[in-house]
């Protein structure tokens, strides 16, 4: 069932660079930076390069997940947010889970940075890691 049961090794290996490090893409022609892959930019260019994204950003909107999807029960309740980064002057948004933060203290505008945390792990199979965001003040 795709991503739900835990990733099968070929998929894990293909995605691990994008999950564990903070990698995005930039269109070489129009300069637009994005945080989901595509093979052809909306401007028409196929010249798309991978870039390392800045780790720090600001929370633009947030919520707390109380009914998690399968596999995420042991972490619930947890917070999800859309975070805005500044990539050479361009405002780029990404989505991420927040960690190390009291759920009632999350505020729009708070500054967060990327770190590595477990996303999902069962008793068997691969342990899946990914980028989560922790508050910068700490």
């Amino acid at each position: 069932m795709g991503i739900i049961e835990g990733t099968f090794p070929p998929r894990y290996r293909r995605e691990v660079k994008y999950r564990n490090a903070f990698v995005g893409w930039r269109c070489k022609k129009c300069g637009r930076v994005f945080y989901t892959p595509r093979k052809r930019c909306e401007c028409g260019s196929r010249e798309i390069e991978e870039i390392e994204l800045p780790r720090e950003g600001r929370v633009v909107t947030r919520t707390v997940v109380r009914n998690p999807p399968k596999g995420y029960e042991k972490y619930a309740p947890y917070a999800i947010a859309i975070i805005e980064l500044d990539v050479d002057g361009q405002k780029v948004r990404v989505l991420g889970q927040l960690a190390d933060v009291d759920l009632d203290k999350i505020r729009t505008g708070m500054r967060v940075r990327a770190t590595l945390r477990r996303i999902r792990a069962g008793r068997r199979g691969l342990i899946e890691y990914g980028v989560k965001r922790v508050p910068i003040e700490e």
Binding site: V16, K17, N20, A21, E52, E73, K74, Y75, A99, D100, D102, T115, L116, R117, R118, I119, R123, I127, Y129, K132, E138
Partner: protein
Amino acid sequence: MIASILGYGAYIPRYRIKAEEIAKVWGQDPDRVKLGLLVESKSVPGPDEDTATIAFEAAMQAIERAGIDKSLIGAVFVGSESHPYAVKPTGTILASALGLNPKHLRAASFEFACKAGTEAIQAVIGLINAGLIKYGLAIGADTAQGRPSDPLEYTAAAGGAAYVLGPKGDSKAIAEIERVESYVTDTPDFRRRQGAPYPEHGVRFTGEPAYFHHIINSVKLLLEKLGRDINEYDRFAFHSPNGKFVRNVARRLGIKDLSRVVSLDIVRKCGNFYSGSTLVGIARALDKANPGDKILAASFGSGAGSDAFSIVVKDRITEVKSIGKSVDRYLNRAKYIDYGTYARYRGILVMD
């Protein structure tokens, strides 16, 4: 000198559980526990943290302080008793997370109970001096499991530190490792069989013939070789199973000023980081060091053995201290949790 330290970083999870909370559950006297162990609380990893994530945070800071091109890192050795996989090295996960160059990279997992981290340091030094790598990362980190109701439950904690090491005399050195001496015997003080969830230990047996015997011997060897008196050192970091052992070994080694033993505050507030213990201690000593200071560190790993290091601090330490977080910042950020939350975070509650 045998190698340089170019960067260091430490990480301790934010959650803490007080000795009182644990004592309450098992009907023990918290004051006796605290007095006997010189431990007030211990760190607890969140449900999404493990040795790899702790190692990551420590390594990121170490690389930042080192200011090197990370594609030149030729080894990422992690020492732990709680590697995420029994087979698949923790270093491989760090390789993808840190974006290390797969070419010329080594990434084995190390095990020697609580001195796996200091063994990792020695291995990296070996590779550097063989000319096989330019820089290497040596890490000690753990999310120790304490068997519920066992005395070790009060101290089995989570934390780690990472070191970027390079050739001796490197221009980016913040400290130089002068020398390291090791002492190892077959002493079964504490061990865990394959597949067993919790370790077994010989309670009082872990003291005299294990912890004290091996540390005293490795430190003696080191001081003999260097021709030094122990009180010439400015700060000390010892493996910290609890505060009592640290204080006693310091006294028995003849250390006059106990305030120089940086491990005491760490273990009192956060417990024993196992493979991370000595390395976090060294990090704290570096946080407080001035150029020219000398640091003596000794690890202890059950099974058993001890590695003793003599470290000399260089000028560049002043510049890097402000990058990254000091160990004290981690010591002071604490979110206290109750035993139920602790049980949940540690995965003791069976959910499936």
